[in-house]
Symmetry: C3
Subunit: 307 residues, 3 copies
Amino acid sequence: MTKTLEHFTGISDCSTEQLEQLLDLALKISQDISTFENTRTGRMLVNLFYEPSTRTRVSFEAAAKRLGMHVINVSAIGSSVEKGESLLDTFYTIQAMGPDCIVVRHPEEGNAKALAEVAEPGVHVINAGDGTAAHPSQALLDALTLKQNFKQFSEIRLVMAGDIRHSRVARSAIKMLTKLGIGEIRLAGPAEFMPGEVTTAGTVIYDSLDEAVRGANAIMMLRIQKERISGLHIPGGDEYHREWGLSVNRLGLASEGCFVLHPGPMNRGVEIASEVADSRQSLIRSQVRNGLYARMALLLNLTRAAY
Amino acid sequence: MTKTLEHFTGISDCSTEQLEQLLDLALKISQDISTFENTRTGRMLVNLFYEPSTRTRVSFEAAAKRLGMHVINVSAIGSSVEKGESLLDTFYTIQAMGPDCIVVRHPEEGNAKALAEVAEPGVHVINAGDGTAAHPSQALLDALTLKQNFKQFSEIRLVMAGDIRHSRVARSAIKMLTKLGIGEIRLAGPAEFMPGEVTTAGTVIYDSLDEAVRGANAIMMLRIQKERISGLHIPGGDEYHREWGLSVNRLGLASEGCFVLHPGPMNRGVEIASEVADSRQSLIRSQVRNGLYARMALLLNLTRAAY
Amino acid sequence: MTKTLEHFTGISDCSTEQLEQLLDLALKISQDISTFENTRTGRMLVNLFYEPSTRTRVSFEAAAKRLGMHVINVSAIGSSVEKGESLLDTFYTIQAMGPDCIVVRHPEEGNAKALAEVAEPGVHVINAGDGTAAHPSQALLDALTLKQNFKQFSEIRLVMAGDIRHSRVARSAIKMLTKLGIGEIRLAGPAEFMPGEVTTAGTVIYDSLDEAVRGANAIMMLRIQKERISGLHIPGGDEYHREWGLSVNRLGLASEGCFVLHPGPMNRGVEIASEVADSRQSLIRSQVRNGLYARMALLLNLTRAAY
């Protein structure tokens, strides 16, 4: 049997077998969630968030509660963080209260991993986003969403478009899908948004979204952070949409029935047209739902009871 | 049997039978809460609040928890709302996580109803206040409080005083009590605070609180929002209290034992004298307690198990 | 049998027997927490916090949840407090919702006690810090930590160092440990940080930390609030550390194996050196863990079931 995880800090820290095991479990949960409910009664999860977040925090909270776990939310705002306590000391404090899982979101890269290294046995650290580096539970739900809609990963020709350079979502998804043997990953976006060499091994960069989309059977649009656009040689709003947004027409260049994904929150009319977001080809709401299943699978695996 | 509710967006969207059924159930809960506890174990309620609120949020949270439900709080502050996501997209995201009930408070009128219209089957939307339009669960608890203290609604001569125009509490209470067959509703307050024709069908407007109070057997004082007074031809603080506040003397003009209600939070010394708020005729704390019962009844009805 | 507590507002309001009973129970919990879990299922605790706090709020929340209690958090930020409601009215509102325990943190002295005096039977008020006056549950965990490491309180020679004057932690700990018969309490810190006569009965004031530390077998360093230093004739940062911080060298002046405590959050390099905080003599993380046990004991005692 595949080794269960001790922590979940990044896709690179998991074996392919572990990732496949997580996906298989998440798929089972999606088929019959009631079997898994209340199987971790009395366990405790702490959400330790140094950046605001609705969807990720709520998704972990809902996943944990469905499993019967207690959930305690700690936000950096209004906490002893304001009193200047270091992340490490805050972590030690939280850990001393005996949680089973600590979910960490932090604006700086590498922090979840650093905390995992000092965690006591039995305390499992989950990276819910560290800077622009990683967001591995998002990658898990993205992979689950693709798995539900394709026979095998090798047949998927995925376009990821937008601000790849600053996207932890993209970074984790690329690693995850590469490990799972995805057929092709094409990256598209303004030059300033393209990543360096290392992070994109096995991917191909396009400088036209029209070109990238041709023949694709899945397109993942990334959120554009408007404040990032303003300082760069990148067109804003409508103009961005014309060049780099996913419109109905542009989607028409892809394979028939090509699926559309977006991690949210969306800027409708900027990186994605409303008609596309709400179309039958859109898997965007499935992604949110799968976030629940993926995180339940993750918590079950980390807290290692039989299932 | 009366049809259970699908959503609870406004008093006008409920039949009189449905409202009476809710009240009857709330009354039963108030008589023996323990029978109803943990009858919705494992269900999930999300509080989606775009305005700050203690009492309403906590009341729904307490009601849900007493029923055994999981509760997840989402506040617009520190959420993806800040990232510019639309209300509708946030709602779809929350909904995709599989809650049974979504309680929405929003500063703009009509939003809860709009969300109810797009909700998936099995997801019940509750309006916890939309702009100045409606606050129907408050009307429910107000009606319950009156029901506990009068033999029948037809014998009630109720004064509502203060800023009727901007009060969703007043608007919902008037609709609710009218449907229940209240004897009389008298509205009193500065001219700028009086409502237009439509919202006040079946009510009588007084331009003197002394006049309105004479012979009344229940008085509901509304909160004065001080920032609203300053721009208008309305006296502030002490002077407001003299003209439009409920003092011991003024209460003395009403029927003997006349009850006093206030939805809170109170401005003591402005719309209500402290002696009145704390007197034996005051039902203000009963209202809060009844908020728990009314919301438990509402959640039980919406989630439609047998009871 | 010793009388259980009705409220927990300050150490002075408890008999020595009651405090010892709490400590004995906390010790038992620390030895086998699982026996006590879920022994208060369905009870409700409200955290009513008028000051930001991570550790105290989370500690009460974790303690209550381990006991199976529902927990509702109310923070003064984003609440009806902003709408000008008085503390007393907010308390009445919370109380009307039927909680078993209300944990209050407030910036002004005496407020928890004032609320306890108006609480209904069956509602237990816990002071989680009022101004600079008291933080009795912190004193409980400090005493528990010492109890675990000494055969008896009479053999303890404790140094408390730093801003005693403004520290509710110090104030409550001194009262608690004096009642428990501690051998000796020595206070050290800049003159501006030393307390008046009354609060320090039974303690000795030192004007040199080196002198105070000699022969001590426990040292509790208090947090320095940097904003307090700036206005006074007190050296900042490094200079403060040289004169009043606990360095490895200074700790070497104490008895061998002298224990180190700190209520957190720490300013490493100011009142305490990192090497000291992380040394084997440090009980700082035990204190946090004991906070959980102490608060579970407190909640069990207040809610008075047999144990």
